[in-house]
């Protein structure tokens, strides 16, 4: 038997299909299709958790995603564990482990329960006041204590072994919610031929039809009609039906996020299945059929296990076959709860009494209650409850006073009426409007192409809901250009139309400050807390919310918001709409990080860009560094070498023999067209019309404000064709910058830009033996110094494949950069290596490249410049044309601050002790004995040990640096102060003779 409270013949689960799980280590027998909540209730377990602040015993309040109390920890194995799962949402599977949360040492005996006794110290807003003094105690005492005590469940510590999927989808009509309204709307839209996506968070469609047995549609039982309709929709090619799928966020331009729970209900899921699938849906139209949520009654001690929503009890009975008690009381302000009593009574459960705080309930339900022999106390309230770990009795009194009568119960069902679920509507930026007649916030002004239907739209009555939904479905389909199908008609009947409902605190909520009448169960907010907030001066609902934390828990106040508002309204003596409703934010219910990240994990987290020669570099022991998304060879340590050793060896080898360097990642842009030179004249500070085909020039690109944006060598291949190089990290932004000017400022120029970064593999061969290495591999290019001087480019063949061969240098040595089509890169590299290695050359990485260029004072944009450096600051004035009348940055360079004396300028620094290597980023001062705060003159931008100089070298941005050559400055460090001398930036081969090697 799957639980003593399972009633034979009730519900839709199959008794033969069982599943077994554990709750706090104790085996629980359940049926397939049970939720954790229904299975626990079937086994008489009401106590499932402790509350957040007071650690009060808590039970199952609802049968849906609005559940604030029954938060559990669910695990499949050590790594697959999820805290804060709502018990009425989690389906059981064989072998699952469920644990209660927020209790120690055990659920029944919880030390934290002392908070309940201490509650006078935990009044609303307590954390804004309590931990203010003494200040020193915050860090050592208060914060560690709060951190330990705060939070709900415990996060898993192991990496999530599951995988998650993503799907972009488009449709004409997205229908959120598959109750009567959603199914009707989807049916009408689908019949008209629209591409429809219908989603529902529950395992099956049906919504309220799960519990409402009195509904018939076209003569068929409502729940059966729902399943048949879903089956019909699923069979249509233009319809996608997604169950166990929550529409959690409604974003701009009808973009709706769905999360589909694929395996959380399966005992042994296929490993291929993602745990969850994120659907990013762009819908032309949206129909919101999200239903409504029943509210609880607010009265003293309304939070004991066994006290739950009336509709929840109906769901447990009619869908799961579980009676939530043997002797059940009902406390209501709405007709809807009567039907729970009727269903339970017919199933053989004793109804102790229906306590209705209204004088006049609906006639129909009153008549039916009398017929069933149920005692109804109208104009009465439940003013208190008893029971330690489960409710055992209720105190009932006539409204307005009088003696209380105690009635023994083992469960209490309550209903204060229904709150339309306007969450998605509100997320869509629609404005809700207060309907005073029904006391509800309903969709008012729409902001996007959507329509609300059914109870989330305040539509009462089954037939009215059906007709409204059918019409909306058809309207949305027609609006998106679908002309198929005829009119869909459905006929609904139900037993009772509901009246009633209330918001705010009932009679038993007490006026005093000690009664705990819960408004927000998850954050332990009571009616008295809202009143306190108002007394302390919070008059806006946004302030009251933050002061009390009402509605700020993970359930986002699905039950509590309206009650909180009504209580504030009463105390403030202002109408509810004048106080306003807080804005609903996505997600509707919590969404896992896994679903949001979906495929972007491990190797798919970010692209790892590798050059064509990567495999060779890896095979030759390269250590890689990340440069943007690129993996670049950093250095090539040989056996026993440290990084320092390897870099020193590489630096020596390049200057003494030669080195091979993979420069493929540098950005390349092909600039083609008759106006190419004119365009480059505008984009760079240099003059390009004077550059002859076959020659190269170092170019500087500024932003309009005059600061250095990028640099690189540009080769002219023909009158109308340039090969532009950019920094590795700057490639995409330089391309965008150029396109921006070309398209929007200089559209008259006949020139086109194409990124060729990845077309070419680039092998830099630098050093005195560079030409000797390359010459035999080259065809059709005269390699002599005269024919092919420094800063030239030639086209020809290299190893039999087309090449663009550059004579250029970023090391100060004679050097070449061999460009070949990328797929040939590795073979060409290997051919060069086969010649280079016997000549004593080495492969070198980015670290050596950095040291060698620093030895020559060549800057790296983004390292030696930071977006506030002009060409003049970087001693690059020679590269700025004096003749041109326009280029980007020409006016910015003349701004008063950019021509001012004393700007920070790039200079070299030599430490007085040649063995000391400065730290990059270290600050520079003139007087080491100046009291703090010292005047900072600038900072170190580049600093290395230079093996070739036999000492450390550095570059720095220093205020008025050019005028300080020879001066001694100081670099204060935590443990010492380092004296440095300002120098020029060329540390090796000041005459530059080696370039012509």
């Amino acid at each position: 038997m799957s639980g003593a409270n399972r009633i034979a013949g009730q519900g839709r689960l199959t008794p033969a299909k069982t599943a077994r799980f554990t709750f706090d280590g104790k085996a629980i027998d359940a049926l397939e299709g049970d939720t954790v909540a229904s299975a626990l209730l079937a086994n008489g377990v009401h106590l499932v958790g402790r509350s957040f602040k007071y650690h009060r015993p808590r039970g199952i309040l609802s049968a849906g995603p609005e559940e604030p109390n029954a938060l559990i920890d669910v695990s499949r194995d050590a790594a697959r564990r999820q805290p804060n799962v709502r018990a009425p949402v989690q389906e059981v599977f064989d072998g699952m482990k469920v644990a209660s949360q927020n209790r120690w040492p055990s659920l029944a005996f919880d030390i934290g329960g002392v908070n309940n006794l201490m509650s006078p110290f935990f009044a609303a807003g307590f954390y804004y006041k309590t931990f203010m003094w003494p200040k020193a105690a915050w860090e050592k005492v208060y914060e560690p204590f709060i951190r330990k005590a705060a939070g709900l469940g415990v996060a898993p510590t192991e990496e999530d072994p599951d995988h998650y999927a993503n799907r972009y989808a488009y449709c004409d009509v997205l229908v959120a919610g598959a109750g009567v309204a959603g199914l009707s709307a989807a049916l009408a839209a689908a019949e008209a031929g629209a591409r429809v996506i219908l989603v529902d968070e529950q395992p099956e469609v049906g919504g309220a039809l799960h519990y409402d047995l009195s509904v018939k549609i076209d003569g068929q039982n409502g729940y059966d009609w729902a399943q048949a309709t879903a089956a019909k929709l699923k069979a249509m090619e233009n319809v996608t039906v997604l169950t166990r799928t929550t529409a959690f966020g409604y974003y701009n331009h009808n973009f709706v996020g769905l999360v589909e729970r694929v395996t959380d209900h399966l005992a042994k899921p296929d490993k291929k299945l993602p745990r969850e699938r994120l659907w990013q849906v762009r819908a032309k139209r949206v129909v919101l059929a999200t239903g409504s949520i029943e509210r609880h009654m607010v009265f003293a001690n309304n939070d004991r296990p066994g006290i739950m929503l009336a509709s929840a009890a109906r769901t447990y009975l009619n869908h799961f076959g579980v009676a939530v008690g043997r002797k059940v009381g009902v406390y209501t302000a709405s007709d809807s709860a009567y039907e729970a009593a009727f269903d339970l009574k017919r199933a053989g459960v004793t109804i102790a009494a229906i306590v209705d705080n209204r004088e006049k309930p609906g006639d129909a339900v009153l008549t039916e209650a009398r017929k069933l022999g149920i005692e109804v106390l109208t104009g009465h309230s439940v003013i208190d409850t008893k029971g330690k770990l489960r409710v055992s009795a209720i105190s009932v009194a006539r409204n307005g006073g009088g003696s209380a009568r105690s009635i023994a119960v083992d469960a209490l069902l309550m209903s204060a009426g229904w709150t339309p679920s306007v969450h998605l509507f509100s997320q869509s930026r629609g404005k809700v409007a207060y309907d005073a007649a029904s006391g509800r916030f309903l969709p008012g002004t729409y902001a996007q192409d959507c329509l609300s239907v059914g109870s989330c739209n305040g539509t009462d009555g089954l037939q009215a809901t059906i007709e409204e939904s059918l019409a909306a479905g058809e309207l949305m389909a027609r609006a998106t250009g679908n002309e198929g199908g005829g009119k869909v008609e459905l006929r609904g009947e139900n037993a009772f139309e509901w009246t009633g409902g209330m918001a705010g605190a009932g009679e038993g909520a007490g006026a005093d400050t000690t009664v705990k009448a819960f408004v927000d169960f998850q954050n332990d907010v009571c009616a008295k807390d809202i009143r306190l907030a108002v007394r302390e001066g919070m008059h806006s609902i946004e302030h009251i919310k933050r002061f009390t934390t009402n509605g700020m828990a993970t359930d986002q106040g699905k039950l509590s918001n309206i009650h909180g508002l009504a209580i504030a309204s009463e105390v403030l003596n202002r109408e509810i709409p004048k106080i306003g409703l807080t804005t609903f934010r996505a997600p509707y219910t919590p969404v896992t990080f896994g679903a949001l990240i979906s495929h972007s994990r491990g190797e798919l987290f970010d692209p790892a860009r590798k050059t064509p020669m990567h495999a060779w570099e890896e095979a030759h022991g390269a250590v890689f560094e990340d440069v943007g998304n690129w993996k670049r060879a950093w250095y090539y340590p040989r056996s026993g070498e440290t990084m320092h050793d390897a870099v020193n060896r590489e630096c020596r080898t390049v200057r003494n023999a030669a080195g091979l360097f993979d420069a493929s990642t540098l950005g390349k842009i092909e600039v083609v067209g008759p106006d190419a030179a004119e365009f480059l004249n505008l984009m760079y500070t240099n003059a390009w019309d004077t550059l002859k085909p076959g020659r190269c020039r170092y170019g500087i690109m500024l932003r309009e404000d005059g600061f250095v944006y990028d640099d690189g060598v540009v080769g002219r291949l023909a009158e109308d064709r340039f090969h532009v190089t950019t920094t590795t990290g700057g490639a995409p932004r330089v391309m965008n910058h150029m396109e921006d000017y070309l398209q929007t400022e200089f559209p008259h120029l006949k020139v086109w830009l194409t990124s060729t970064t990845e077309q070419w593999a680039v092998i830099a061969v630098q050093g005195p033996k560079a030409r000797e290495i390359l010459e035999p591999l080259v065809e059709g290019i005269d390699m002599s110094n005269d024919a092919f001087p420094h800063m030239s480019v030639r086209e020809g063949k290299f190893c039999g494949v087309p090449t663009r061969l550059f004579r250029m240098s970023f090391t100060g040595e004679a050097g070449y950069e061999v460009n070949v089509p990328a797929d040939y890169g590795q073979a060409v590299w290997e051919a060069i290596w086969a010649r280079a290695e016997p000549l004593g050359a080495c492969a070198y990485g980015t670290e050596t490249m950095h040291v060698l260029r620093a030895e020559k004072g060549y800057i790296i944009v983004g390292q030696d410049t930071d977006g506030t450096v002009t060409p003049h600051d970087a001693s690059l004035s020679w590269a700025v044309s004096k003749k041109k009348t326009d280029f980007v940055g020409i006016r910015g360079l003349k701004r008063p601050d950019l021509v001012k004396e004393g700007r920070k300028q790039l200079v070299g620094l030599l430490t007085k002790d040649p063995n000391v290597v400065l730290e990059e980023g270290a600050q520079i001062v003139a007087d080491p004995n100046e009291p703090k705060p010292m005047k900072m003159l600038g900072h170190v931008t580049s600093s290395y040990w230079s093996e070739n100089c036999g000492r450390s070298i550095a570059m720095a941005l220093v205020a008025g640096g050019q005028a300080r050559l020879g001066q001694t400055l100081y670099v204060p460090m935590p443990d010492r102060t380092i004296a440095v001398e300002v120098s020029d930036m060329v540390f090796v081969d000041k005459e530059g003779g080696r370039l012509n090697g």
Binding site: Y168, R277, K610, P612, V672, E758, Q759, D823, V828
Partner: protein, 182 residues
Amino acid sequence: MADQALRKAPLAGRHGGSAGARVTPAAPATRLSLRAGTDAIGTLSLAFGLELPQRPKTSASISGRHALWLGPDEWLLIDENGADLAGIAAGISALHSATDVSHRNTAILVSGPDAAAAIAAACPLDLGKTIFPVGAAARTVLGKIEIVLLRTGEEDYRVECWRSFSPYAFGMLVDGAEDAGL
């Protein structure tokens, strides 16, 4: 005279996907980034032997040669038979820009009944039959990278991307194909 260097494709040896969506690297092809104003379209079409498309999101294909509209003055030309597209371009006098991108791009083929769903794992384009029919082509994104997507058949797509992004694209499409096939 050195031996001719051997070509090494970035996705050599990879395969993957599911029964519903096979993911395979395409064979090497020649490619051209072609830019030109409206005036030159006739001349260029004649020279390349296929009508350069002028409508957004369209392409033209003749025996293994494709011209994809990428922008109002931009086409991606692909020749699966390795014809010397750059050579053809060099002989055209009408004003245009032709840049060889044969090695910049590589392509991945996604085929099978679930091919569209596989791509939809990371591509935000609407791949519906009427909105992205056979022959449709567009530059778009796949996860964190840029791709050019060409629908070559009812169940066949060609995904072009830059070579260093191709392992990422391949992995993403395989992930998508595995999920689409469930």
